[in-house]
Amino acid sequence: MLARLRSRRDSASLAGLLGPIALIVVAVLVVPSLASGATMFLYELVLIQILMATSTNFLFGRSHMPSLGQAAFFGTGAYTVALVYDVVPIPAALLLAIAVSAVVAFVIAAVSVRTDGLVFANVTLALGQGMYLLAVKTNWVGSENGIPGISAGSLGANGVWYLVGGCVIAALVVCWVIYHSPFGLTLYAIREDPIRLEFLGVNVAIYRMVSFTIAGAGAGLAGGLFAYASGIVTPNTMYWTQSGYPILMILVGGMGFFWGPAIGAIGVTLLLNELSGNPGWNLIILGLVLIGVLLFAPRGLLGLWVDARAWLRRGSARRPLPAHSP
């Protein structure tokens, strides 16, 4: 299988995986000596959002499933950990978070995968909000106050950092493998032309459901890690704007590239943090960024980067990349 991967275009080469992973590993090792407290939490958020955005990109970059309900799975993972953190060890809690989110995602996929495009977006939005309302109204998950005091046992602040870093790195590797596997490429083909793929004998609906489940599982892991990092889980984790941020990150970074969402996640999380003290202006700037990216950089920052490099190498013809924009 690795040989087959190596023979694809350079974006699928191992260098495309190991290079960025190495960078992340270095960052994870270095940060504890540079930051602590709220700054470390901010970087944990960045890592978590990298995972969240990358899994969500299975739905945007690899399938044509514009889901506005990913927050529901993020929240499910977070609440799962919040409910079991004091009775099971951390690895079990995280696995449980992944499993529960995957199951919920599968169920929702079964219902919503019949629809497409805008209606699909609306249905997932409504389902996500429905789960949010459910969390708010249910007493045994703390209703609107949520569940505070989540502790990672004997892991100190640095321990939690390594936990988040390690899990995110592992998950990214798994995502990368799936993304470039035959399954992932079939998804891509489905995105481009689902009708043709149906005629080729591919069961498009099943592929979509699996894709949705994978995205949900990734979001669930991100949510579980969030529970340990933030120490508290509230229904806010399921609110529809939480579905919007990963989408923004995917757009800003570039949805046609595996690492696009990661770049977007870093940029947007840090930007949002900078803006948080400025009511009104934070919305204006976010809106302008979103519109700006859509109009002038539809292939995202990575797309701009690729174009810039091609432009610098003027001589070589620009490789005709398939539609990498939304």
Partner: protein, 293 residues
């Protein structure tokens, strides 16, 4: 129970004002305009600004009507500006991209409103002559609800007349049916798009302005009604005005009755309704939704 039904119908007509603009814009431009709620909010703030700057107390009905008109026309102007500057570019993008672009616009509009008017809830009193209640069939109904129903009916008739009996309406329906063909025939589809967008946003602004005495006005209002409006449009059938009217009324009445008899379902009833309809009839309530039926 009758009281709840009346209240539900009034609420439904308010929703219809928002949803009709949304579905109109979708029909002609194939964009589901996420920022529509922003225009609703702007209509409310414009009307609020006019009323407060004049400082009448109590608020005469005639002046309130003027404020509402200024509000909706003002929003129409903003609509034309944004259509020219922004939406023209967004048409060419895919449907996801246009959805996201309009979402960006919503953030922008909300942010600007927050910077200008702040987050404190603003309040507009009920105008005179419509600030009390009347007894209809033995039930106390707020006069203002009757106003909303009246305006909604007028708008419905007006839209029907515009689309079915005027030359402009014919052009709009043609563009909704097949834009490409219209361009081939030499029609100025860009002008039609702009005009339709202006009407759609004016309707949203009208809804917002009319809602001001009922709500505590904050920038949040942009998103408060929009999810319901989307549900109405989808259930009614994308592009169908009569569909959105029926859906809006059904939603309004069902939600109202749910609150009275099954309070735990409040706020959730329309989700449930939406799923039921979508499972049974995914293309929406009204058949042949494309041609502004």
């Amino acid at each position: 129970m009758l009281g709840s039904i009346f209240a539900g119908i009034a609420d439904g007509f308010l929703l219809f004002l928002i949803a009709s603009g949304l579905t109109l814009i979708f029909g002609v431009m194939r964009i589901l305009n996420f920022s529509h709620g922003g225009y609703f909010m702007l209509g409310a703030y414009f009307a609020y600004q006019v009323v407060t700057s004049a400082g009448f107390s109590p608020l005469p009905l005639g002046f309130f009507i003027v404020a509402v008109l200024i509000g909706s026309v003002g929003v129409g102007a903003v609509g034309i500006a944004t259509e020219r500057l922004l939406f023209r570019r967004i048409y060419e993008l895919s449907d996801i991209a246009s959805l996201l672009g309009t979402f960006g616009l919503l953030l922008l509009i909300e942010g600007i409103a927050e910077v200008i008017w702040g987050i404190n809830p603003m309040s507009v009193p009920f105008p005179t002559l419509v600030d009390k209640s009347v007894k209809v069939v033995g039930v106390r109904v707020a006069t203002y609800s009757i106003v909303l129903i009246g305006v909604g009916i007028l708008v419905g008739i007006g839209l029907w007349y515009l689309l079915r009996r005027t030359a402009f309406g014919e052009r709009a329906r043609a563009v909704a049916e097949d834009r490409y063909m219209c361009e081939l025939v030499g029609m100025n589809t860009a002008a039609v798009s702009t005009a339709v967008f202006a009407i759609g946003t004016m309707l949203a602004g009208l809804g917002g302005a009319l809602a001001t005495p009922l709500v505590a006005l904050t920038p949040d209002v942009a998103t408060a009604f929009i999810i319901e409006a989307f549900a109405v449009v989808i259930v009614g059938g994308l592009g169908s005005i009569s569909g959105s009217l029926i859906a809006a009324l059904v939603f309004g009445v069902v939600d109202s009755l749910a609150i009275t008899y099954v309070p735990s379902l409040s706020g959730v009833s329309f989700f449930i309704l939406m799923f039921v309809v979508l499972l049974v009839r995914p293309q929406g309530l009204v058949k042949n939704a494309r041609a502004f039926a």
